[in-house]
């Protein structure tokens, strides 16, 4: 009888715990901070600066979501994850967003019960070699030792690329980018392979960047973007539209410099008015956001172009060209749905 009582109470407890789950947005607001899962260290994307603050492209995206939801881009606490632990950490609720160079694939989207909300960086896997090796093409890499980050799509691409070209190689699996750099520098491997953006980031952190080169072949499609847990559509929409607001900002010429003045006047382009909350944008309240959400994003973090240039562009050691990461009108792949 007693055991039954305990069982009943316990079962009820579990059931109530299940139904009492609040929405992700409510959790974030109640906490007053956004938990964001980022890379353990990749120059330009997520790396601590000399004061110990996290800086980078992926980090700025976390800040943009905090600006949209909490009105303050600084209210983010960061959790780092390796390629292997990131999905488990997201699933376990250690963060509301996974903003960590994560490739959007079918299986990850569907089978792992996650939602990819968009692409923030179009990338592709490449190879980097020391120039003194004299290699000019990835097709000459037969027999090489290849350093590779485990728990990523790069492993599968690599296996397919070498098999398709009938070449053998010796994979050297490594957990993090910084460990891979050490092994590459020590000569444990001839080649380091990861997303091209990661290669540029790695080279930029070397003492002699000019001694190394990225080979011309890009062997895969790597659309990188933020990921959220499956099941909370409101939250997924918030994160997706944060990214689109940054892109729309670039498209409409709204920058962190002029956003405040544009927001306070009636613009000819009504889309700017709707983006910045001057004219009513139907559904913003349904999303749980205040009308100035996009103003907060762009004034505190910047539009897509500003964030890209500040972290990855020509003024940074990485010197990555925009390439595919331009708006469609400039020849890139970003085509933002209308803000209306």
């Amino acid at each position: 009888m007693k055991t039954k009582m305990i069982l009943a109470v316990a079962t009820a407890g579990v059931m109530f715990a299940g139904s009492a789950l609040a929405s992700t947005l409510d959790d974030v607001r109640a906490r007053g901070k956004l938990n964001c899962i980022i890379n353990t260290g990749l120059a330009g994307f997520a790396a601590p600066d000399d004061k110990g603050n996290w800086k980078g492209f992926d980090v700025d995206f976390c800040r943009a979501v905090a600006a949209a939801t909490l009105g303050d881009a600084s209210k983010v606490s960061y959790t780092t994850a390796t390629g292997k632990t990131r999905f488990t950490k997201l699933a376990a609720g250690e963060g509301e967003i996974l903003s960590r160079n994560t490739t959007w694939t079918f299986s990850r989207d569907v089978d792992l019960s996650q939602t990819f909300v968009g692409v923030s960086y179009y990338d592709g896997q490449g190879f980097m070699v020391p120039k003194k090796l004299g290699v000019k093409s990835a097709k000459e890499l037969g027999g090489a030792s290849v350093c590779i980050q485990t728990g990523t799509t790069t492993e599968l691409n690599l296996a397919e690329f070498f098999a398709a070209n009938n070449m053998k190689y010796n994979p050297v699996p490594i957990e993090t980018n910084s460990e891979a750099q050490e092994l590459y520098k020590a000569g444990r491997c001839d080649v380091y392979t990861t997303d091209a953006s990661g290669l540029y980031a790695t080279i930029s952190s070397f003492d002699n960047p000019s001694d190394h080169m990225v080979l011309p072949e890009i062997i895969s499609k790597e659309p990188l973007g933020p990921v959220v847990r499956h099941g909370d559509d409101q939250w997924a929409d918030i994160v997706a539209w944060t990214l689109r607001a940054m892109l729309a900002g670039e498209e409409l010429g709204v920058t962190s410099k002029n956003v405040k003045s544009l927001a306070s006047k009636d613009n000819k382009n009504k889309e700017i008015n709707r983006l910045l909350g001057k004219d009513t944008l139907q559904g913003v309240t349904k999303l749980g956001l205040s009308p100035d959400w996009a103003v907060n994003i762009i004034s505190q973090v910047g539009n897509y172009e500003e964030v890209f240039e500040a972290n990855l562009g020509q003024s940074t050691p990485l010197k990555i060209a925009r390439g595919a990461n331009q708006l469609y009108r400039d020849g890139g792949l970003y085509y933002v749905p209308p803000i209306k």
Binding site: S113, A144, E155, A163, H230
Partner: protein, 387 residues
Amino acid sequence: MFFIVGLWRNEKSRQIILQIFVLLCIGWFLSWLAGNVASNFSALGKDISFDFLSIPAGYDINQYLIEYNSRDTHLRAAIVGLLNTGLVAVLGIILATVLGVSVGIIRLSNNWLASKIAYWYVEFTRNVPILLQILLWHGIIINSLPHPRSALNIGDVSFLSNRGFYIPKPILENGIELVYLFSVIAIIFAFLFYKFSKKKQELTGVQYPVLWINLSAIIILPIMGYFISGMPVSLEIPVLKGFNFVGGIHMSPELAALTFALGVYTAAFISEIVRAGILAIDKGQKEAAASIGLKPSKIMKLVVLPQARRIIIPPLTSQYLNLTKNSSLAIAIGYMDLVATLGGISLNQTGREMETMVLVMAIYLSISLSISAFMNWYNNRVKLVGR
């Protein structure tokens, strides 16, 4: 009711009732945990399924003892990883045992310097975390050894580089059967000769140099077979081709670092166990053996070690278990063991963290239980039999 009170008052049945109750509590707790996992999983929209084991793994593994390529299944990748775990565990156990027993005996020697060196070795290695030692060995190998193009050349057949150690690989050709046959004959001879000389000693007291005769038989007979059948073994010598050496037997820096680190670390513990076992033998035993005229080496072999062995084996078992489990730290340097394949890349590619982790734990548990079972069997064989 009265019956139940009666059962409760009886000490024996009360104990049984209490034990059943505790067992039920534990069982209920475990099933509650499992149910909790299941409900959390369904809340996340995940199911529990082992179907992923039969789909292609898609990734390559740099060291495989059975044939493997990226089109093989996750299950096969897991087996490749398991064999790699087994390889490093066996190599580590051999190294740890040889080194540990030697150091344990050296520490007891009267040579002050040797005993102090052994002492410092033990104190240093067993007090530094094993993970650091693995990283240290790996760092030493990849940073201090040269690039393959300027590898240390040992007689043009073996090479040391920061990509690992390369030695010639024997290739067996036709006629090798004769060598096998001669080896079997040698072993049978050695066994029979051992029995014969033991009997002879019991009857007449005459002693033959059994070890030397048997050792020579086991070495010389197969060599004779090798020459008679026309030298049917050729060597595949590693050669530098492109980026790396090709051919021969390759020991990767990761395997070497892991074997050294695990062997050297565990040897420190084993040496203390051996020392304790030897010191536990009463001094009177040695004095008695000496008084009947046995030489010191015979005293060690015939009187001290057989008794010490009984004390040594149970703790030695747990050292073997520790070594095997510690081999899962391989992941720190990228050695592709069971944790790195099934519990690492397969987990990540399929997203089945619960299933892969349960499998990995079950496999480690069965490895450990098998080692224990074997050592228990051995312990039963050598333990003091009451007559």
